[in-house]
Symmetry: C2
Subunit: 421 residues, 2 copies
């Protein structure tokens, strides 16, 4: 297999040239036909997914992972709908983001072009296979996917649909490569193909991220964990805070934009925490707290530093009480993952301070961490949420899979007058 990783990547690079040259209409038609193919072959995809689910249950993987892996008709419909949304989005390729005229008389344009070939290495969630392929293709790129072993049958079924749509459009199916059978050595080889692969996106847990960042020669944008915080300020509207807390923890706890820690200002703790604990427990949430939270709610287990640093991905929440906004900011700087942080406050100064003091990709005032999502933020589908502070930070859509370059058009201008012959 090793010998062919480079060959596969080269085929993808060749096919990517075709994708880069497609018109917007052709790309959108292709994406819609991919969506149609997914729905037409939904039964095949669900059968493959059922096999993955059985195997995963035998392996004893966690409920959070099972939830990420599971497909049903509605989720397949959602995947197809996401592709149609990507088709409906503006085409980033060829966009002129700035246009100026030099005082020398030539025009200067910044124009978006595809990155080239994008490799994505991800874990359980099979919808990523379709989302990543759609976004890469919309942005004019070739894409090499390596999904998790738990989802191998689901991913193959989905990729087969998408590659079929490429063929039906008269294009090379190699523009989308699914290399699910890669050994660790072959993955290493893929990550070092810096003359072929323009970007590698790892999306998953610590082991995967470390493996990629320590070994890649290709540029990496990490899509790492979300240890998202809610800070309930002294001047919070406690009803809003409670809704935002329940929304951020209870709905789909396995998503990276779920809340893992709530920090409550001491002035409002007595008025907020008991209510919050009741509402969360009614919804099955397990709570761990620092010593001051446990004074207020004695039946809460103690929270360790590991708890405060954890991405639980389940119905578990860490609770802390702080004496000031500064203490909340210090806690988030220490334990946060640069993903998404929320403050609930009616105090504009406190809100601005929170925004400016934290360097996370998404910072919110009085709204739910669940909106930290490419679809909700107007990107259509997202390839993930970047926690790398370079190129793209936060939810990453098709535009983030292009790069601006310079196009100059002149009429014989030279920089040095003495160069005139």
């Amino acid at each position: 297999m090793n010998a062919s990783v480079r060959d596969s990547a080269l085929l993808c690079q060749q096919a990517a040239i075709q994708i880069a040259e497609l018109s917007t209409d052709s790309k959108n038609a292709l994406l819609r036909s991919m969506a149609d193919a997914l729905q037409a072959q939904s039964a095949t995809i669900l059968a493959a997914n059922a096999e993955d689910m059985s195997a995963a249950r035998v392996k004893g993987i966690s409920e959070a992972m099972l939830d990420r892996l599971a497909l049903d008709d509605s989720r397949v419909g959602g995947i197809a709908e996401a592709l149609r949304q990507v088709a409906a989005l503006p085409d980033p390729v060829g966009q002129v983001t700035r246009s100026e005229r030099s005082d020398k008389g030539f025009s200067i344009e910044r124009v978006r072009v595809p990155l080239g070939v994008i490799a994505m290495i991800y874990e359980a969630r099979p919808n990523v296979t379709a989302d990543a392929a759609a976004l890469c293709i919309k942005a004019g790129n070739g894409v090499i996917l390596r999904g998790g072993s738990e989802a191998v049958r689901s991913n193959q079924a989905i990729a087969a649909c998408l590659r079929g749509a490429l063929r039906d459009a008269g294009l090379s199916e190699h523009a989308l490569m699914l290399l699910d059978d890669l050994s660790r050595e072959a993955m290493l080889e893929l990550m070092q193909l810096s003359d072929i692969v323009d970007l590698i996106i790892p999306r998953g847990g610590e082991g995967l991220i470390r493996f990629v960042t320590e070994n890649a020669r290709v540029p990496v944008i990490k899509h790492y964990k979300g240890v998202c915080h809610l800070y309930v300020d002294a001047r919070a509207d406690l009803d809003k805070a409670l809704d935002i807390l329940v929304d951020g923890k209870v709905s789909r706890p396995s998503a990276c934009n779920s809340l893992e820690t709530v920090l409550v200002h001491a002035d409002v703790a007595a008025g907020f925490l008991p209510r919050a604990v009741r509402a969360l427990r009614e919804r099955g949430v397990e709570l761990v707290g620092d010593s001051r939270a446990r004074e207020l709610c004695p039946d809460m287990a103690p929270a360790t530093d590991e708890d405060f640093a954890a991405e639980f991905l389940s119905l578990k929440l860490a609770v802390g009480i702080v004496d000031s906004e500064d203490a909340a900011i210090a806690h988030i700087r220490r334990f946060g993952s640069d993903h998404t942080e929320v403050i609930v406050t009616e105090d504009k100064v406190a809100a601005d301070r929170f925004i400016h003091a934290l360097r996370s990709a998404v910072v919110m005032v009085n709204t739910s961490s669940r909106f930290s999502d490419g679809g909700e933020l107007g990107l259509g589908a997202e390839i993930g949420i970047s926690t790398t502070r370079l190129h793209s930070y936060g939810p990453m859509g098709a535009e983030a899979l292009t790069i601006e370059r310079f196009v100059l058009r002149g009429d014989g201008q030279v920089r040095h007058a003495e160069s005139r012959v």
Copy 2:
């Protein structure tokens, strides 16, 4: 020394928080006082540079390198002027690049924030020390510089001025670190400080670029060689082509935006090449050519593949004759370095084809490759010209040293209605 690389970087990270919080006016005043300090201490800088030049001559380094290293009053004035230009530029930090309202009622802003700590590893040119520091500070970052051993005294003299200006402004001088005495092992350590350093920029030759890309755990943006091409199309205005050729080769051949190869369409070769050869030879340019160029100009030495791939950085030029625009594009794809390519043509279709077929950072029609420069393209000073297709591609100014993130402001919105308590 090794033990203190991490400590130095940590000091820089701490100091960078101060820089990130400076107002625009404070940053601009700081940059102007740095410029004043450089000019006030010009004699000290020139004395240090004279020592570097003597040592370099003893080591027998090339004329191109000596030219890059040399300072005089006018060049020091130019460095100071570049800092004042950076002061006069708009502040990228805090810029709201997009502002929308979600259909859920919250606002979504994209806001530019500093990257954090930027490390730059570069070779001979001492002006880079000031340019890089100024741009990083303008963008709210801390900066760690590691210049070439040839320029060590010049760089130390320049950095001493700049750090003095930081102290005079009541700031920590650690926001600008010059680590010129780093061993190779210490450089390796610096490149792997992924919890402290947010970006590493190597700018120089193949050895440096390879050393960094093979060893860095920190994200890398390469500023690699410029093998820039001029293609003289069948429908070129030959007078424009000649001026652009002379400008691109003769003025400061050691710069990365100088032309290394001219490709001439066969239809105009007889009318263009002998004139071009005469004009270039009068200006001291050595020419090497392919077999067809040598048929027209028999006293030209033969060009090898190595010549076509070379960044000469001197008054040497490779010449080829091609039968079509496609052949020119194929040649550039094979030998180019993704830096800057120029077509001279009056044919709009040929110009557009050239632009779309090539993926270089800067593509130009009918104007000189010398305009591939941050100052000429409106960026003020530049930290270099990125040949990495990620984050920033082409000339890279202060804005490219920031990242956009998301700021949401709402009024209690949740994503799932059932989360309302």
